[in-house]
Amino acid sequence: MPRLSVWFIRAALAYLLVGFTWGALMLANIGLRFFPQAWWLLPSHVEFLLAGWLVQLAFGTAFWILPRFMRRPFHGNEKLGWAAFFCLNLGILTTAASDLTNGTALLAAGRTAEVLGAALFAWSVWQRVKPYGG
């Protein structure tokens, strides 16, 4: 597994745990009413589990298993992939922070970084969507 995939997938696992923790707090609070501010966690719960866990796991796995090139660099332009990793994670964290603080400028910045991250990732793997050995 290439190093970039390790980072994408381990980050996805970390977001999975945080997202599940937020979800568990909210669900337990519905039943026991011990944490009145629990609903503030809902937007970041969704952000962590959709973008942090699912999207990032898909990116990491795709970078690992898509057909490689016959010559170096086998995985294509890894710098683009790393830029995608940093943009996506900056976007997720900024968006989550905006959800907790109601900051619309932060939200716009976070979503911009996420779009940029997705575009960079698509660019980095575009040529690898090909027949094996092609």
């Binding site: 290439p2 997938i9 696992l13 599940f20 669900l27 519905i30």
Partner: protein, 139 residues
């Protein structure tokens, strides 16, 4: 394909059907074709789909396809993997029953049912992470 992966995937397919059935019930409710209200059904539907179907399918495929942990224990701890499966499905089942019950008529029993579901679902994520982390590595 390991037995536990088959179990994860087949269970996820059942949850997909349940999620679509719950979504159908919501549409019937919205159209006024079901006379009684079904409170708490929307969050249950979302979680049947996202946890029961998508996440469970991923857990099963990751357990099967990710790089081997060691030659002796290629898929890490089978105890942790079974604990993931058990806590995810028991937690989701408790939530599916408890959330509509609690929304319709809040009571101590349904409240504790939801707290138990929350703990079990959190445990499923934590055990999955613990068993998968070391299998995600460079080669």
């Amino acid at each position: 394909m390991p037995f536990l992966t088959r179990l994860f995937i087949k269970t996820s397919l059942i949850y997909l059907l349940l999620a679509l059935l719950a979504s159908w019930l919501l549409s019937m409710q919205a159209a006024g074709l079901i006379p009684v209200g079904l409170p708490g059904l929307f969050p249950v539907t979302v979680h049947l789909f996202v946890l029961g179907w998508v996440t469970q399918l991923i857990f099963g495929v990751v357990y099967w396809m990710f790089p081997k942990y060691t030659r002796e224990k290629p898929r890490g701890s089978s105890f942790l993997a079974w604990l993931t499966y058990g806590s995810l499905n028991l937690g989701l089942a408790l939530r599916t029953v408890g959330e509509p019950l609690h929304a319709a008529r809040p009571a101590a029993l349904s409240g504790w049912l939801l707290a138990g579901a929350a703990l079990l679902l959190w445990l499923s994520g934590a055990t999955f992470l613990a068993n998968t982390w070391q299998r995600v590595r460079e080669r």
